[in-house]
């Protein structure tokens, strides 16, 4: 049949086309699926620091300069500072980290943040944080995935096709999520 041949060609070439995006979404899917256990976007490292007692005179400017110098923060790395309590001073760092120290002792911790290269960008595409035009690209991707699913099950004829063993695999694939849904509604 001509339609089956057309489906085969389309299935193959769309498969090639979507190779990168399918892999990216799969990797991101794994990453954000376990967001309770790890941070899929940022890597955060924490170390102890001791910058010595902060200067009593000069206000926040002097404290910030003291912490920046003692903790050897790069020029331009500091974005802001805060003193939420009498004995707490925080210096905020450009990528989202901070140096948080006690005013009287200068002891505290330095938290550095960096984005996970590749994964950060993959996640914001996958979760459609870009919105705008990317929404339509993601829509097209979803429709093409649906086409791959449908064309995939009708490609083969005979015993290996949908009418043969294929129907059992399709049925099993449908039953797994349906079982979870049924379990959800019967136990809530």
């Amino acid at each position: 049949m001509r339609w089956r041949r057309l489906f085969r060609v389309l299935h193959r070439d769309i498969g090639y086309l979507l190779f990168g995006l399918v892999l990216a979404y799969a990797i991101s899917g794994l990453a954000v699926n376990h967001v309770e256990d790890w941070n899929p976007n940022y890597s955060i490292s924490v170390s102890e620091i001791d910058v010595g007692p902060l200067p009593a005179d000069g206000g926040l400017d002097a404290m910030e300069a003291h912490v920046a110098a003692a903790a050897r923060l790069d020029a331009g790395e500091v974005t802001g500072r805060r003193r939420p309590g009498p004995n707490v001073f925080i210096v905020f760092l450009r990528e989202g980290g901070e140096a948080r120290v006690a005013v009287d002792s200068g002891r505290g911790r330095l938290e550095r943040v960096s984005t996970r290269p590749g994964l950060f960008e993959t996640n914001f595409l996958h979760l459609n944080h870009l919105k705008g035009a990317w929404t339509y690209v993601a829509d097209a991707f979803a429709l093409l995935l649906a086409f791959l699913a449908i064309s995939g099950i009708v490609l083969l004829k005979g015993r290996a096709g949908l009418a043969g063993r294929g129907k059992w695999f399709v049925l099993a694939g449908l039953l797994i999520p349906l079982a979870f849904v049924a379990h959800y509604y019967t136990t809530r």
Partner: protein, 195 residues
């Protein structure tokens, strides 16, 4: 068959054309002169924020709600519950995993509120921490149980390296939350607004 192949060849170019828009401001880079607006009226709907001359703009345009001092909002929360207000303050913390909230605090003093949005509606980068936010939203009061209050203060004490005695907390805490509508994150405190 040739038509189908032609379509497949053209598709990537269509996708590239569709994606030719401003990159996300996820790194919180300095504002550019590309799109001058003060409250984001011209900003495209980018969840990760849109860079403008005025700062990185998130969500809906802001500026219509009355400006309320952070201290006033924290002190007299009940008077503002359910009302739409605009607050200016330092970004003192950002949701590290989902980017779905940030804290707005005073540069000097314990006052702090949370600006919260639904996951994915706006996504705030961790690099926003330490910058200045002008944020607009509807005020809500979040009441903690005593147990939750102790956990909250224990975490705060751990963060600051201070000792903490749970018995010292005898009353439940209530926190102020803004149901986020829009925000502008700037490198500097705007001269006109003041903290």
């Amino acid at each position: 068959m040739r038509t189908a192949r032609l379509l497949l060849v053209l598709l990537p170019f269509t996708l590239v054309a569709c994606t030719a828009e401003a990159p996300p401001a996820a790194k919180g880079a300095a504002p550019s002169d590309a799109a001058a607006t003060t409250t984001g009226e011209d900003a495209a709907p980018v969840g990760t924020g849109t860079e403008t001359a005025d700062g990185v703009v998130y969500g809906e345009p802001i500026g219509s709600a009355p400006s309320v001092e952070l201290t006033e909002l924290v002190t007299n929360t009940d008077a503002y519950v359910g009302k739409r207000v605009r607050v200016v303050g330092l970004v003192t913390g950002v949701c590290a995993k989902r980017g779905c909230w940030f804290k707005i605090g005073a540069e000097e003093g314990p006052e702090e509120i949370t600006f919260k949005v639904e996951d994915g509606v706006m996504v705030f980068p961790m690099s926003a921490q330490g910058k200045w936010a002008e944020a607009e939203g509807t005020v809500a009061k979040v009441e903690y149980s005593l147990e939750k209050t102790r956990e909250y203060f224990a975490r705060k004490a751990e963060e600051s390296g201070a000792a903490f005695d749970p018995a010292s907390v005898t009353e439940p805490l209530s926190l102020v939350r803004l149901a986020g509508i829009g925000a502008v994150i700037r490198d500097e405190l705007p001269a006109a607004t003041g903290e």
